[in-house]
């Protein structure tokens, strides 16, 4: 195998690990933001609802790469302005952190919509029953609404995840050495850009295929109670 790709296969696989790391960490951030956004829109007061609604609108209206550039270059200036006041040295923003923050922030909005729909699909009677038992609002959410909504959230969740994985390719544009970046380096050095980009395309398809299997498994597990 090593011979076929001119000894660059380990580098591509290392890039693949970075791609998966970025994807998983952004996913964690997006889940956190998504739950916040969904709760704000469903249970919040007027102000939190306005914030949550403008968050989803802005994210859906502005291309991901523009947001990433804004956070990468803008964050650099912001952090150093703050750093100057405390007399610290020049700080470089890590493209990995910029990438994770941007992608997590973007998909938080989509996860928020998925969770909102899923929460609204939960049987009202179950929630009322919880209240009738004297549970507090938070208890109802943790013990009833949240576990019951997972089933409804699975298809949307996996759809967001698949789009998220593909979006991680953009971190190569801000210089993170993910699998697209590694393919560029390897392809340029060996003058075989086609070979390496196609290889990376296949690796993305591989991640998609594995995710599909995981989704089937989750759907079977969480639809047990459904008849």
């Amino acid at each position: 195998m090593n011979e076929i790709f001119g000894g660059y296969l380990p580098m591509i696989l290392k890039g693949m690990i970075i791609t998966i790391e970025v994807a998983l960490l952004s996913l964690v951030l997006s889940l956190f933001l998504g739950i916040l956004a969904a709760s704000a829109r469903l249970y919040g007061g007027a102000i939190s609802r306005i914030i949550a609604t403008s968050y989803t609108t802005i994210i859906r209206g502005i291309p991901d790469l523009v947001l990433m550039m804004l956070i990468f270059f803008g964050g650099q200036i912001l952090i150093n302005n703050i750093g100057d006041k405390f007399g610290s040295d020049y700080i470089d923003i890590d493209p990995m952190i910029a990438g994770i923050i941007t992608i997590g922030f973007i998909f938080g909005a989509y996860m928020g919509e998925t969770f909102r729909g899923a929460i609204m699909a939960v049987n009202k009677g179950q929630i009322e029953a919880g209240h009738a038992y004297g549970m507090t609002g938070l208890q109802v959410f943790i013990h009833i609404t949240f576990p019951a909504m997972i089933r409804h959230a699975i298809p949307g969740f996996f759809n967001n995840w698949l789009v998220l994985v593909k979006t991680t390719a953009l971190v190569s544009v801000i210089g993170l050495e993910d699998m697209v970046y590694s393919a560029k380096v390897a392809g340029d050095t060996l003058r075989q850009p086609f070979t390496f980009y196609v290889l990376v395309g296949f690796l993305f398809l591989l991640i998609t295929a594995v995710s599909d299997l995981a989704m089937r498994w989750f759907e079977r597990k969480y639809n047990v109670g459904d008849h």
Partner: protein, 227 residues
């Protein structure tokens, strides 16, 4: 923040806006034209028609658009026979590579939308058409496609917005679209906030316009489905 930079660079931004809209329009038209036969083939019961098209759709939906553009723009230069052929006039230009990648990508996504809508056509409509003695071609032309395309309008609206946001990748392969213009302003003046926020606002306005147009289209074409 110093927005006089933006005012000085407005002509550049508007030129970029022009290219963004042009790329979007051309790709959408080509993608739409391709997607109709593709969706009919993908909905066919004949595996010789269905499997190749479904593979095409799977590959283009499963890999990042960035990779697709890189394969076409950088990757194809690997082949000497292509560089020596007449097609090289097209493939050596970033503009045409972007158009090809965007068109094929949106054709795949759109075909998948239309395929779903075609398969959801009510049996009764097709049976009525058969009872009237319509040929398969007439059924598609007068019954199935008009009804399926109408029902696809909301999903297709999302695809158009997705494509608008995807055109930023033209800016990655050296073209000066709206995003490319913002990148130039940022590198000339080191003004990430001014440049990317302005570009973001442009994209927001176009997104809202597209949403508005599709709302009008839905009201007009989907009146019969409203309750």
């Amino acid at each position: 923040m110093d927005f006089s930079i933006i005012i000085d660079n407005l002509p550049l931004l508007f030129k970029g806006l022009g290219l963004t809209l042009q790329l979007l329009a051309i790709s959408l038209v080509i993608g739409f034209i391709l997607s109709i036969p593709l969706s009919i083939m993908a909905a066919s019961i004949n595996p010789w028609l269905r499997i190749p098209v479904k593979t095409f759709i799977y590959i283009f939906r499963g890999t990042p658009l960035l990779i697709q553009i890189f394969i076409i723009y950088y990757g194809f230069s690997q082949f000497d026979w292509l560089r020596e052929s007449i097609f090289w006039v097209i493939f050596k230009q970033a503009y045409w590579c972007a158009v090809i990648a965007f068109s094929l990508n949106t054709a795949a996504y759109t075909a998948e939308i239309f395929r779903g809508a075609i398969l959801q056509t009510q049996k009764g409509e097709i049976e009525a058409a058969e009872a009237c003695g319509m040929s398969r071609f007439d059924q598609y032309r007068h019954i199935i496609l008009p009804s399926a395309l109408r029902r696809s309008i909301p999903m297709y609206g999302n695809e158009v917005i997705f494509m608008l946001h995807a055109t930023v990748l033209a800016g990655v392969i050296t073209l000066v679209d709206l995003f490319g213009a913002a990148k130039i302003i940022n590198s000339r003046h080191y003004a990430p906030f001014e440049s990317f926020i302005s570009a973001g606002l442009f994209y927001l306005v176009i997104t809202f316009t597209i949403v508005f147009i599709f709302k009008l289209a839905e009201n007009h074409f989907l009146k019969h489905l409203k309750r």
